[in-house]
């Protein structure tokens, strides 16, 4: 038995069997947060796998040149890293399988830690690489997978990749506590835009959505789909196509400030909902989003990011130290009902009562198929007894198949009953054994 109260691992496990830990900025305590989760998961006897969305765990931060905590792995843990980073591991490791990805640091392989120790995890610098690494580690027996969203790479929390996201924030972000809270609140609001629950969605999404598609949905639920090279280049053109009867515009690619400004210029923000695949596609300066929201526009996502916790780090790389409890309180208040933790100080806020409810999902929409008010709590989901959520059957046959070079399609990452949006960027992973 662990101590009283839920810890961050309980919260993460109650949301599923995969998490991305992303940092608001460098030195916000992302690696420490990841370590706390990995340790908690390992303590519960769940086999883990770790991948990265860049590179992490190196001794010295390439940006700030400050020492960084390495990624510690329990015995038996799987991790996906580039060959040349694996050579620097300070734990005995063995290669297990290869992905089809190669970066400037060599092939992206999956290794196993033969004994506990510190490693560098990196080389999965695209969503596709991270996706394949996760699928491969799962087939090799990982029952829980964590992604290190290196250097604030947001793509790692895409719902197509992970079920849960933890955001690490801290004093490194701004000079004052108010600044930290303000910037964190903004990021959370963008990351947790509501799930799009329009009844017209089913029809509008009946065909796969590519990155070049734009779908206009009218009030009567009829829709029109156009293909553009990129909304980035055709913002004005697309905004001009927003006739009065269009209530929703669905983008296959990125949502940027240029498009929002084009909409605002034509006075079309009011009553309009811009829908993206998921919040990782929103790459807008805070000012542009604020203006769009104030003008009555809404932003929603087909696949909502499930933010299950925010962690705070009161120390800044320049030596500044904020009051740990005050910072946690400030952030927790702003992101409620999302649980907030200072994993070093061992304090938490916004915890659901034990045994009662899982972490609230602030971005679940309300009833009636409309987009819910931001921050409306979700229907409580039972907090699954973590260990019971994992079946412990061995995957020996699959491991053997992977080692023999047999390709397999990864399991669907969206449960039944969800709007299934076929993602144009998905391809079955083609792994091979390590020669």
């Amino acid at each position: 038995m662990r101590g009283p109260g839920l810890d961050i691992t309980d919260i993460v496990l109650s949301a599923g069997s995969s998490v991305a830990v992303v940092g608001m900025a460098k030195n916000c305590g992302k690696t420490v947060t990841l370590g706390a989760i990995l340790e908690g998961v390992a303590t519960r006897g769940i086999p883990v796998g770790v991948a990265s969305a860049g590179r992490d765990g190196e001794d010295v931060d390439a940006v700030t040149m400050l020492p960084k905590p390495p990624i510690w792995l329990p015995e038996g843990a799987l991790f996906a890293t580039a060959e040349r980073l694996a050579a620097k591991a300070r734990a005995p490791i063995e290669p297990v399988a290869a992905t089809r990805h190669t970066s400037a640091l060599g092939r992206l392989l999956v290794y196993r830690a033969i004994a506990p120790g510190k490693v560098e995890v990196g080389g999965g610098n695209s969503a596709a690489a991270a996706h394949d690494a996760v699928a491969l580690m799962r087939r090799l027996g990982a029952r829980f997978v964590a992604i290190d969203g290196a250097a604030g790479r947001k793509f790692s929390c895409a719902p197509s990749l992970v079920e849960a996201t933890v955001l690490a924030t801290g004093a490194a972000l701004a000079a004052t506590m108010e600044g930290v809270v303000r910037r964190t609140t903004r990021a959370v609001r963008t990351l947790t835009v509501p799930e799009w629950m329009c009844p017209a969605g089913a029809e509008a999404l009946s065909a796969p959505l590519s990155h070049r598609d734009v779908v206009f949905i009218r009030g009567d639920a009829s829709s029109r789909r156009i293909v553009v090279p990129s909304v980035l280049a055709r913002a004005d053109e697309v905004a001009r196509a927003l006739t009065e009867d269009v209530e929703t515009v669905l983008l296959g690619g990125a949502l940027t400030g240029g498009f929002l400004r084009a909409i605002l210029k034509r006075g079309r923000a009011s009553g309009l909902t811009v829908v993206v695949r998921d919040a990782t596609r929103i790459l807008v300066e805070p000012g542009d989003l604020d203006r769009f929201w104030s003008a009555g526009g809404q932003v929603a996502a087909v696949h909502p990011v499930r933010l299950v916790a925010v962690t705070t780090n009161p120390t800044a790389p320049d030596g500044r130290l904020l009051d740990p409890a005050a910072l946690l309180d400030g952030v927790a208040h702003a992101v409620a009902p999302v649980p907030a933790f200072d994993v070093v100080a061992g304090i938490a806020r916004n915890l659901p009562a034990a045994g009662e409810a899982g972490p609230a999902m602030p971005n679940r929409s309300g009833a009636g198929g409309r987009i819910g008010v931001h921050g409306a709590p979700a229907a409580p989901a039972a907090l699954a007894a973590p260990a019971a959520a994992f079946d412990t059957a061995t995957d020996t046959a699959i491991v053997a198949a992977v080692a023999a070079g047999a390709g397999r399609k990864g399991a669907s990452d969206h449960g039944p009953g969800r709007l299934a949006v076929p993602r144009g960027d998905e391809e079955p992973p083609r792994e091979g054994g390590v020669a």
């Binding site: 460098k26 969305a53 860049g54 590179r55 992490d56 190196e58 390439a62 940006v63 040349r84 620097k88 190669t102 970066s103 400037a104 640091l105 990196g122 080389g123 610098n125 695209s126 969503a127 596709a128 290196a150 250097a151 604030g152 790479r153 947001k154 793509f155 590519s210 990155h211 090279p229 990129s230 980035l232 280049a233 296959g252 690619g253 990125a254 940027t256 400030g257 240029g258 990782t280 596609r281 790459l283 144009g424 960027d425």
Partner: protein, 260 residues
């Protein structure tokens, strides 16, 4: 290892000033205080905190009445273990202008398309021009002059959105971004945003993402999820060779020779 007949311990390397291993360094700094004996003392005190012994201000000058510029000489008390240092470098074989063009012609069989820009608020064009412009840099031609490259140089202060839009429009094989100003780490935010945009637009697997600039190195590039980073002294042929080899490798038509 021996240098000038003296035995050098590579696990304890110190700066060379007048004689081997004496630790002497010269450095400059500016303090936001008016020049005078107090300013000089402050500069010395600060340098002592930085790990210098026998600190001497050898030159100081008033700047605009409120700042003072110093040149300081002092003895560094620290050392580094040179044998423990590992740096990731761009992995490629050097090739000349002609070799690169021939390599592309035979291995890739079509022209390589690149788009380049100095992005965000950064207005320094000289670095990216050195790599791209016809006239080139340091005696080498830029990529525009390569018959097997099609290069679009969008200039400076280009928004990331415009750079990515151009890359999609022309079906670029590589996006080259230059970042010179690094004040308050603006380059980190800007480079990260570009990588996210490329991912969100679904072209990450179709392009090589390459960064460059005086304070850029390959380590940073890898950390931010780029394919390569090029720093000071980069020549157009370095970039051309990397792009050609990496594309060929990804197409499965070429493999680098194994190093022992």
């Amino acid at each position: 290892m021996t240098v000038s007949g003296v035995n050098l311990d590579l696990t304890r390397v110190r700066p060379y000033g007048d004689t081997l291993d004496d630790g002497w360094v010269q450095m400059s700094l500016t303090l936001p205080v008016p020049s005078g004996p107090e300013a000089t003392r402050a500069a010395e005190a600060l340098c002592e905190k930085m790990g210098l012994d026998d600190v001497r201000v050898v030159y100081s000058r008033d700047i605009a009445g409120t700042f003072t510029f110093f040149v300081v000489y002092g003895k560094c008390v620290h050392s580094v273990d040179f044998t423990a240092i590992k740096v990731s470098k761009v992995n490629m074989r050097h090739m000349t202008f002609d070799e690169i063009n021939e390599f592309i012609a035979t291995c890739i069989g079509r022209k390589i398309v690149v788009v380049a820009a100095c992005t965000g608020s950064d207005a320094h064009t000289v670095g990216i021009d050195a790599i791209i412009n016809m006239k080139g840099y340091a005696g080498e031609y830029g990529l525009e002059r390569y018959p097997w490259f099609v290069a679009y140089n969008l200039g400076s202060q280009v928004p990331n959105e415009a750079l990515v839009a151009k890359a999609i429009e022309v079906g670029a094989d590589a996006i080259l971004v230059s970042q010179v100003v690094t004040q308050k780490n603006v380059h980190i935010d800007n480079l990260t945003n570009l990588a996210e945009l490329v991912e969100a637009e679904g072209i990450r697997d179709k392009v090589l993402l390459i960064m460059g600039g005086p304070r850029i190195d390959h380590e940073l590039a890898v950390e931010l999820g780029y394919d390569a980073g090029f720093g000071p002294g980069t020549l157009p042929s370095h970039v051309g060779a990397f792009i050609a080899q990496e594309l060929a490798r990804r197409m499965g038509v070429w493999a680098p020779a194994e190093k022992a």
